[in-house]
Each structure stands twice: as structure tokens, then as C-alpha cells.
């Protein structure tokens, strides 16, 4: 292997790829060659660094210089100054990486990363995901070698049980127990499946693991195969993730070439192989029985349990299904031991959890923190708070199955059980921050719209019940809410939760229930006062001109497309609300902030 004095790491995750990192990689390689440095400096395309907000991100080692928002025209400067002359290009560094005295901080010292503990994401942004050698160099496949040569299948299951690892995809079922059930089932064929159908809007950690460290998932699935006695695995990936699919396929091919998948792995007599199956855009396929139906090539409709998949799953054979992030923890639990893993987190939620921070927050991106970290630490210390000086209103976790957490609960330590207790859930770890401009009734409507669209239609409570809830919410946001609507929503929610067939239906009312619990006043304002306190619901908005601020310049009446504004020059103008279409053009144009929307 060639030795290089410097390495330029460029993020090749979906976020940075979208903002132009492939072109940067090409330019860096070109300019490095022009400078004659191609034998000294290596360009590495890595997985996601996590801080998507700052993308495209370029990191130069050994200094750990953290360049953010890099554009094509910056490449030459970094090559000529930093790589050729050894001078860090300060003005291109991420602003948090520059201290007041002018000294520079390396990546690990930036606030965004300081509180994080990377277990599942440990290789993301560190290695080239398309080269298995780099994974192997970071202890890759060592855990597989350990279980195949030193451990009995039951010992593997015991370690996973003792670690306290719980499923990272939603409900948080103990992983070791799941494996035990499948190991106890006797059959001629068993299957190991990986759920990479990351359907929670706003969650993208599984995509990042597959893009940044696909071998960790392959290794863990082989370990699971050994533990339960399966020889075949399937990874079910969303078709919306083309880069993840491509890298996973490359990793599988390389693992086969190296004899780490296939027959007689490492000469131990154990055989295991993997296939990828693509989803086709159905949220319900994240539910385990629906996912298995879909791998079988059918409509992805859930079926009643029992029998549980550990007894009768894919192709009617005993099957385990874990999600990507869960698998990404496994090799390290095997290598470092159950005690190491169990030393992180809270009493009932061990280890770390990856969250995808998004919405109205400064540092959008992926963060991995020990369980038990408070929401406040995640949103303010790591996420940097809401941008534009806006007031934090709520954090939404658990996607369409979860709920909204208000500011008063910011100090809750995040773990599975605490989130359930406050009416939300972990889900796969999406965390969308909302500020004062977001209407909570509209957010509830948004999620119901999602579930209605994604309901598979098999069971009536979900098919019909969620639609009735959506109709009520639509009426409320349009200003046609009636007395009794809140009670109707509550009754419907209770009944759907109790009677729907699968997790999707049973949790669908959660966004409504949690917003009713913490933001009931907003519902009441919509229904009884026909007013949207956040100023979001268009049909409830009213534009007025504050006569004390209006200078009578007439600009607003000129831009109004429907002629709803009239007045005399140099006297306050007025808006005729019966004509106003609430387009907001006047407010944008007014130079005196005289136009009020509420």
C-alpha cells in the first residue's frame, strides 16, 4: 500500500453529492496532479460526515482541517496553499473551526461533534465505502472471524442479549431476544433480513450508514446468520436511495471476492450470502410482515401476528429482521463486549442513538449521542438552536408514528421509554425542529395526509378511520372547524389505536394526540376564533395595514394582483379583506413593516 503524507476526505453522501461533491473530487484530483502531488496526497470519497448543513465538506488530514461550503473555485486555493505550502486556508474553514484568537480547531473539537459518541457511524466520513480494504483496516470482519472461530451461536446471542441492544427502527424490541426466538425455531431454512426501507420522512441515518459503511451491515448480518442458523440474507432498500444501493452492491461483490460472503467463509464451514431487494415506494413496507410480503414480490400488506416472523416469516420460514442502524452496532458489541455497550445510555436503553436533525435548526445533519442525552443538549448544544432568532416551538420525533415535544419538556433525557411516556416515540430517529411560524394543527394534518396516502387499505380502522380524521383536520385548518371536532378526533384516535392491524395504523393517531395534548390552545383558536396563531394556515390569515406605520407610499396597492388595496397618497392605505387572496405580495414589498399578517 502506498503511503501518503496528506489525505483529502470529501463527503460523498447524498446531501453533499447533491450540492456538488463529485465535481469537487474530480477537481481536487486534477489540481493535485497539476501540482505534482499525486504521490503524496490522496483524495478519498467518504460517507456522510453528518453536518449536512455545511456541505459540501472537505477535511484534510493529518491536520483535521474542516473546510465547509466548498465550491469548485476554492479547490485550487486549498491545493496551492494547504497541500503544497502547508498553510491552512483559514477563510474557507467552517466558522466554528476558527477560534477568536485565530487558532484553528480540528473536527472533533467543533461543538457539533464534541458531545457526540460515534458507534454506528464510526466509519462514516472516515473510510472509503467502496473499498473493503479500508473497512478491514479499521477492524472490519474481525468480529465475524471471532464468532466463527471462538464462539458458539448461543454465546453470540447471549452477548447481544447482555448488551441490552434494542431495535433502532421503531418500537425498540430487544434484539437478542428476537435472535433467540429465531434460533429456537427448527427448520431447514431460515433468513436474516435487513430493513433499509427508511420511510420516516426526515430520517436518513440508515441511508448514511449504507452509503458510508456498508460492510458493517454485511458483517453483522453474517454474524446474525451464524447465530440463528441462516444461510441467506436479504437487504430491503428504498429505491429512493440510489447511492446507498450502489455502494451496498459494491460491498457485497467485494465481500464475495474476499470469501467473506458465500460458501465456507474463512474456511470455517459456515456459509452465508446476501441479496438486495429494492422497495418501490410504499411506507407500510417498513412494517416487518409487509416488508417480507414485498420481498416475496407481492403487495406489501401486513398480516396479523402471531405467527411471529421468528417462527414463520419470509417464505414461511423463521426470519429475523433488524434495521440498518441496529446491525451497525453488532460488530463492535462482539469486539468490545456487552459490558462496554451497556455502560452507555440509560437503565433500559443502552448504547447510542443516531438522530437526523432537520427542519428549523441551524446545524441540520446526523448526530449520534449516548441514550439519555437531553433534547436541550441535542437542539441547542449540538444543533445550534433555531435560525433567525426564532422561538423554538416543538421537536417532532418518530415520524408519522410519533409526536411533537414542546419546549417545556426540553430537559427530558431521550430514551425509548421516556419518549413513549411523553406521547412520542423513538421511531427511527428523525428529529424535526419547528419554530413559532409552524402551525401545530397543520403539522398534525400533514402527518395524517401522509398516513392516509400510505395506508395499505387492508384493515378498515386505518383505511377509513385515518381518512375521517384527516377530513376533520382539513376543515379545522380551513376555518370550518366546529364545536365537538376535538372530541371526535379523540374518539377516532382511541379506536384506531386499539383496532388497527399493524404498527402503522396503531400509531397513526399519535401526531394528533400529542399536538392535542400540548398545543390544544392552537386547535381551539382555529375552531372557535377562526384564527391560526402561527400565521400559517392560509385560509385563516388576514392581512391588515397598521395605520401608525403606513406612510401612504402606495407601493402595496401597485403590487396587489387583485386590486384589494386602496387609499390616498401620504395617508394610510387599507386592505379590503373580501377581495384579498392572501398572496403576501404587499407584505414583501412594504418598506415600513406596516402590513400585519395574522
Amino acid at each position: 500500500m502506498d503511503l501518503f503524507r496528506s489525505q483529502v476526505l470529501i463527503c460523498g453522501g447524498t446531501g453533499c453529492t447533491s450540492s456538488g461533491s463529485p465535481e469537487l473530487i474530480r477537481l481536487f484530483e486534477e489540481k493535485i496532479k497539476e501540482a505534482g502531488l499525486e504521490k503524496e496526497v490522496k483524495v478519498v470519497r467518504t460517507g456522510c460526515f453528518g453536518l449536512c448543513e455545511m456541505g459540501p465538506i472537505v477535511i484534510v488530514y493529518p491536520e483535521g482541517a474542516f473546510y465547509s461550503h466548498i465550491k469548485a473555485e476554492n479547490v485550487e486555493e486549498i491545493v496551492n496553499e494547504h497541500l503544497l505550502k502547508g498553510r491552512i486556508v483559514r477563510h474557507l474553514l467552517c466558522r466554528e473551526a476558527v477560534e477568536e484568537e485565530g487558532a484553528t480547531r480540528s473536527l472533533d473539537e467543533v461543538d457539533f461533534y464534541r458531545k457526540q459518541k460515534r458507534v454506528a457511524l464510526r466509519n462514516c466520513g472516515v473510510i472509503d465505502p467502496e473499498r473493503i480494504d479500508e473497512y478491514i483496516a479499521f477492524d472490519g470482519y474481525k468480529a465475524l472471524a471471532k464468532v466463527l472461530t471462538e464462539m458458539k451461536p448461543q454465546e453470540v446471542i447471549d452477548v447481544i442479549k447482555a448488551s441490552g441492544l434494542r431495535g433502532r427502527g421503531g418500537a425498540g424490541f430487544p434484539t437478542g431476544m428476537k435472535w433467540q426466538f429465531a434460533a429456537n425455531s427448527v427448520d431447514d431454512q431460515k433468513y436474516v433480513c435487513c430493513n433499509a426501507d427508511e420511510g420516516d420522512p426526515g430520517a436518513f441515518m440508515d441511508r448514511s450508514v449504507l452509503e458510508g459503511d456498508p460492510n458493517a451491515v454485511i458483517e453483522a448480518m453474517a454474524i446474525a446468520g451464524y447465530a440463528i442458523g441462516a444461510t441467506q440474507g436479504y437487504v430491503y432498500v428504498r429505491a429512493e436511495y440510489p447511492i446507498a444501493v450502489k455502494r451496498l452492491q459494491i460491498a457485497i461483490n467485494q465481500a464475495r471476492e474476499y470469501g467473506l460472503l458465500g460458501n465456507d467463509i474463512m474456511g470455517t464451514g459456515f456459509s452465508f450470502d446476501l441479496d438486495i431487494r429494492l422497495g418501490a415506494g410504499a411506507f407500510v413496507c417498513g412494517e416487518e410482515t409487509a416488508l417480507m410480503q414485498s420481498i416475496e414480490g407481492k403487495r406489501g400488506e401486513p398480516r396479523p401476528r402471531p405467527p411471529f416472523p421468528a417462527v414463520k416469516g419470509l417464505f414461511d420460514k423463521p426470519t429475523i429482521l433488524n434495521n440498518v442502524e441496529t446491525y451497525a452496532n453488532i460488530p463492535q458489541i462482539i469486539l468490545k463486549g456487552a459490558d462496554w455497550f451497556a455502560s452507555m445510555g440509560t437503565e433500559k436503553s443502552k448504547g447510542t442513538k443516531v438522530f437526523a436533525l432537520g427542519g428549523k435548526i441551524k446545524n441540520t445533519g446526523l448526530v449520534e449521542i449516548p441514550m439519555g442525552t437531553t433534547l436541550r443538549e441535542i437542539i441547542y448544544d449540538i444543533g445550534g438552536g433555531c435560525p433567525g432568532g426564532k422561538k423554538f416551538k416543538a421537536a417532532q420525533t418518530g415520524g408519522p408514528s410519533g409526536g411533537c415535544i414542546p419546549a417545556s419538556l426540553l430537559d427530558t433525557p431521550i430514551d425509548y421509554d421516556n419518549l413513549i411516556a411523553i406521547g412520542s416515540m423513538m421511531g427511527s430517529g428523525g428529529m424535526i425542529v419547528m419554530d413559532e411560524d409552524n402551525c401545530m394543527v397543520d403539522i398534525a394534518r400533514f402527518f395524517l395526509d401522509f398516513t392516509v396516502d400510505e395506508s395499505c387499505g387492508k384493515c378498515p380502522p386505518c383505511r377509513i378511520g385515518t381518512r375521517r380524521m384527516l377530513e376533520i383536520l382539513e376543515r379545522i385548518t380551513e376555518g370550518k372547524g366546529e364545536d365537538g371536532d376535538i372530541e371526535k378526533l379523540e374518539t377516532l384516535a382511541k379506536n384506531i389505536k386499539a383496532s388497527a392491524l399493524c404498527g402503522l395504523g396503531q400509531t397513526a393517531p399519535n401526531p394528533v394526540l400529542s399536538t392535542l395534548r400540548y398545543f390544544r390552545d392552537e386547535y381551539e383558536a382555529h375552531i372557535y376564533e377562526k384564527r391560526c396563531p402561527a400565521g400559517h394556515c392560509k385560509k385563516l390569515l388576514k392581512y391588515t395595514i397598521d395605520p401608525s406605520l403606513c406612510k401612504g407610499c402606495s407601493l402595496c396597492s401597485k403590487v396587489c394582483p387583485v386590486g384589494a388595496i386602496s387609499g390616498e397618497i401620504k395617508k394610510p392605505f387599507v386592505i379590503d379583506s373580501s377581495k384579498c387572496i392572501k398572496c403576501g405580495a404587499c407584505q414583501e414589498k412594504c418598506r415600513f413593516n406596516a402590513i400585519v399578517r395574522k
Binding site: 447533491s18 426526515g202 429494492l278 415506494g281 414480490g297 403487495r299 432537520g358 427542519g359 428549523k360 419547528m434
Partner: protein
């Protein structure tokens, strides 16, 4: 095997036949075959569904059932450029609905439909996973991030 292929489509049907032959023996082959078929034909007209059903030895209703269950399968021809506006939560709270509304207005086409000249198909999509760039849309393979409605006309003009 019966198929209503005209001369122009002959080659496509041959490609599809090769896909069917390669996957026929594997478990759960229907969806992968349909995905390949859609990438060959651009959509799944009835004739193609029938061809798959006969090729794999399943009923047409089974193929149609799968085709209509999953959002990714389309039964009508798509526009030259397919626009997908992300309506994931992160994009929604950052105003992607306004972006979608503006596109619908500029193109004079409802969401989910294709413009009369066949140039654009406008879709609302699920989370694209590029939440750091919210609000996001895709036109073909090109991703546009941190959008405002006012940028829409200039972007459309490029196509």
C-alpha cells in the same frame, strides 16, 4: 408468446424477455422484473404487464395488484422531465408546499400529472433524505436544494 409489440418496441420486449429468463427461477422475482420493465419502457402499460404475467406464469391481476400498490410503478407515460418535490417533514416545515404550489401554477398542471406538451411530470415525493438541503426538489437526476418559490421560473427555463 403473444404480445402486441410493434416493430419499434420489438427490441424492448426482447430486453424484457432476457430479464424474465434471468430471474424466472429466483424467489420473489415479480417486483425486480417489474422494476426492470419500467426502466426499459418508462412505464408499465397493460401490454407489458400481460407480457410479464405470461413470462413469469402469474396472473395479470397479480401483476396489476403490485403495480398499483407501489407508488414507484406508473401506468401512464411520463413527461420528458420528471419533477419530484420532496414533501418530507423537514422540507415541509421549511416551505416545500409553497414550492410545489408555484410549480403547479407555472406549469399549469395538477400534482401527479404531465403537462400537455409532455415536457414535465410534476410529482410530490416522499423524503429524499437530503434534509440538510431542505426544501429540495429533483428534476430527473438533478437535485435543487434550499429552494424558494421565486427561483422556480428560472430553474424551469433551463429545460
Amino acid at each position: 408468446m403473444s404480445c402486441n409489440c410493434c416493430g419499434k418496441d420489438q427490441e424492448k420486449y426482447q430486453q424484457l424477455q432476457a430479464v424474465i429468463d434471468a430471474k424466472k427461477g429466483t424467489k420473489g422475482a415479480l417486483m425486480p422484473v417489474m422494476q426492470e420493465a419500467q426502466s426499459i419502457f418508462g412505464y408499465l402499460p397493460k401490454e407489458v404487464q400481460l407480457f410479464i404475467a405470461e413470462g413469469l406464469g402469474v396472473t395479470l391481476s397479480e401483476v396489476f395488484g403490485v403495480a398499483t400498490f407501489y407508488a414507484q410503478f406508473v401506468l401512464e407515460p411520463q413527461g420528458e422531465h420528471v419533477i419530484g418535490v420532496c414533501l418530507g417533514t423537514a422540507c415541509y416545515v421549511k416551505g416545500s408546499q409553497a414550492v410545489l404550489d408555484r410549480l403547479s401554477e407555472e406549469l399549469d398542471v395538477p400534482v401527479g400529472k404531465t403537462t400537455k406538451d409532455g415536457k414535465f411530470t410534476l410529482n410530490a415525493t416522499r423524503c429524499l433524505g437530503a434534509c440538510g438541503l431542505a426544501p429540495v426538489m429533483m428534476i430527473g437526476d438533478e437535485v435543487y436544494g434550499r429552494l424558494t418559490p421565486d427561483e422556480i421560473p428560472a430553474i424551469l427555463a433551463k429545460y
